[in-house]
């Protein structure tokens, strides 16, 4: 497994560098000039020329790309051309918000999704379909409800009406209470969005496994239905959930943007949007690079966990 992991990590390098090249070229060739954007309503020829020089934009596309790639290989992502921070600082400031939010939502949605799915499957197998139907119906409603609607409803209810949570404020990971208050609503909303899909998949997989011969055999040997579920069905049924979790985490990373906007959280999604508008090339490239690495790593971790959960899986 170590060889496999190392090989996958080695594959990460060309994948990420290829992406960096594509993003670099797309950004540079897209219409719009960061210097003109930065100067707002009064860009004059002279001020644009001066600012382009200061931003280091007068370099050609290819020399600029080579410079940038060299920097990336040395671990230097450069400086923002619009604000005072370096790209690494900007990513360091915004990444924790996004990662904590997406991870918390993933963990909660997997845990709750599996429990709900298992309960629905179990009850359904016992001929009691109420939870099963409720879950399926609820899942459809949740999937059809846009996150921004839930976000605004949450703001009205928990911020304005009940006054339990703030709408704004500093996000400080060290201060657990503060982090919990700031992230409670967005994480809950993200969880609700992913929970339904995971629960439905868990339910279907568990139901399938519960009808397998080996489970029936276990039951005929005297195991209780619950013990059969816990001991035999659950582990096998979790494999597709594991795959879905990897995909869900990727989706959550993107999904945090709306939550960051509504709850004014300084995460990577909103930073990426803002920097695209400003044509802050180095920051956009840096954030895309981080997103790419995260996606690849999450997929790798999913594959490794899959192998651990199912010894029949051979990693080649």
């Amino acid at each position: 497994m170590l060889r496999y992991t190392l090989r996958r990590l080695a594959q990460l390098v060309p994948t990420v560098l290829g992406l960096v090249v594509v993003v670099y070229l797309v950004l540079r060739l897209a219409p719009g000039d960061p210097a003109v954007s930065a100067l707002g309503e009064n860009p004059t020829a002279e001020s644009v020329a001066r600012l382009r020089e200061r931003m280091g934009l007068n370099q050609g596309v290819i020399p600029g790309l080579l410079d940038y790639m060299g920097g990336v290989l040395r671990g230097d992502l450069g400086d923002s051309i619009v604000e005072t921070r370096s790209v690494s600082q900007i990513i360091g400031d915004s990444l924790p918000v996004t990662i904590v939010m997406a991870s918390a939502a993933l963990v909660l949605s997997v845990m709750l999704g599996v429990v709900l799915g298992a309960a629905a499957a179990y009850l359904s197998s016992r001929g009691r379909d109420a939870l099963d139907h409720g879950l399926t119906g609820g899942a459809i409603v949740m999937e059809a409800t846009p996150a921004f609607v839930l976000g605004l409803v949450g703001l009205l209810l928990f911020v304005l009406k009940l006054g339990w949570l703030p709408a704004t404020g500093i996000f400080d990971l060290v201060d657990i209470g503060n982090t919990a208050r700031r992230l409670a609503l967005p994480v809950a909303i993200l969880t609700v969005g992913s929970l339904a899909t995971i629960a439905r998949l868990a339910r279907t997989s568990i139901l399938e496994v519960l009808n397998e011969d080996y489970v029936r055999t276990a039951r005929s040997l005297g195991e209780s239905p619950f013990a059969a579920l816990r001991g035999h069905a659950l582990r096998n049924a979790l494999l597709p959930v594991m795959t879905l979790s990897g995909i869900t985490f990727g989706r959550l990373l993107g999904g945090t943007v709306v939550m960051e906007l509504i709850f004014t959280l300084p995460g990577m999604g909103t930073t990426l949007l803002k920097t695209i508008v400003d044509r802050d090339y180095p920051v956009v490239q840096g954030i895309v690079l981080v997103y790419a690495i995260l996606y690849v790593l999450v997929n790798l971790i999913t594959d490794l966990l899959y192998r651990r959960a199912d010894p029949r899986v051979v990693l080649t």
């Binding site: 219409p31 719009g32 846009p146 304005l160 006054g163 703030p166 704004t168 004014t264 508008v277 044509r279």
Partner: protein, 543 residues
Amino acid sequence: MKHHAASGRVARRWLAVPIALGLLAAIGGSASADSTTGRSSANYSVGASDTTPSGELAEEQVLRARLAAAPRSLDPAFVDRLDAEVMAYNIYNGLVDYDDEGAFVPDLAESWESNEDLTEWTFQLRQGVQFHNGYGEFTSADVKFSYERIQDPDIASFFAIDFENVGSIDTPDPYTVVFTLTEPDALFLHSVAHFHGGDIVSQAAVEELGDEFEASPVGTGPFFLETFDAGQGFYVLERFDEYWGEPATLERVELTVVDDNEAAAIALENGEFEMGIDITGDDRLAQLEADGFQMITRARSNLITMLNPEANPAFADVRVRHAIAHCIDFTTIIEDLLSFREARSYNFLPPTLPEYTDDVPHYEYDPELGRQLLEEAGYADGLVVKRLIRGSDGVEDRDLLEQEMLAECGITEEFETVEVSEFSERRFQGDFEIATRSVNEPNIDFIVTSLLHPDQFPPGGLNGAQYSNPEVTALIEEARSVTDPDELKAMYGEIQRIVMEDLPYIPENTLRQFWPTWDHVDVPELTVLASMDFTLVSIGVAD
């Protein structure tokens, strides 16, 4: 009551989502009932309507305010948007400042004079003025350093153009500065005024801090920057106890970036802020006013429509330009859609300028006259025009109304929506038929030169209408050397009259800025440049 209102406000915004309606209505209804008991939690307290000014000062003089965007730099060489301007206004001083009418008043210079031909300006400076953070006394060397730095091509300041005509800056003694200009400039004081590149920095601080100065500014103003946390979008100004002027009552100003106006309004209602800087949205503002917030407001800029004859030859005909102005009912559009933030404008200049005059041709809504003018211009069978629209705004109701009104005159207006950065680039290159621009500079010479002088055609210039009238050009150049204020005002009045007759730019509206504030906060009017002097703010006791 405020809870219910806020719910309704949000609901209006998202009415398109049917599933939200039931939920919002349910929450709004129950919130309304609850608000009669006056919710008050320790952290997120009561609404503005629950408080009354008692006249007594609160023990803790801390103002918490919302910023709409993060300041990119607090170096006067690059301060460019409202967020940074508000902070810079309280951190720095210029040699002169503007009063409420836009006239010049002393700031770091106690007095000034120019020679007869306006090519030499001498300033006598205040003595004993201290820079923040122990950077010592302010002297003429700092003035020379500050402005030569703006001129330096390596710095690439946005405001180098303001000092283009400065030949030399001499400092005969620590409290005297002499500017020698390469050409007469009656409006030179704008360049050294307390705004943008006119602000004075500490030479010692800039030399010591280098690039870090952008986030660690050192000035002579009533507040110094205590925190610049770009990652959190959180900035703190602390009262500077050695300030040379009237000391501030406020001890601290905490500014937090909240991009979203809805979230900002909710946070304001929730008591997380005392002041919401530049909150936008007519419905939202009307609601805040109804909830008892003070609506601190000031006209900030004019929105003008540029008609580019290079891209559409029809615009070269003055009758077509007049026809367009007559075919759009700006008054109705503003009254029906934008009455809170915008006012009707009849001039391309904003009314905040001292040189502004209303004595210009007015183009009232008259579609019949519009059609007649088009017919005379040879467009009886119709005219097709294309408007470039900024993607962040999208096609708004006002655009659709204008399109409909123009259609009634036989003008087919097409929309081309492009992303913000492309919009700016296309406008800069002059690659549009119709596009808008906001005019908000304090220096009339800069405005008329950039918008009306033939040297300023795009690409590179701001004369997007490619306007050239030798009479106007001569007046612009002549005005720079006129010393008599009345004569100067008359000349600029003449320019405005001619230009509004030629109509290369159609005035759309005057945009007002709103800073809704809790009623227990004592606040002054916004400055003439729509900023705020925090020394005049104090926090009262909220009942």
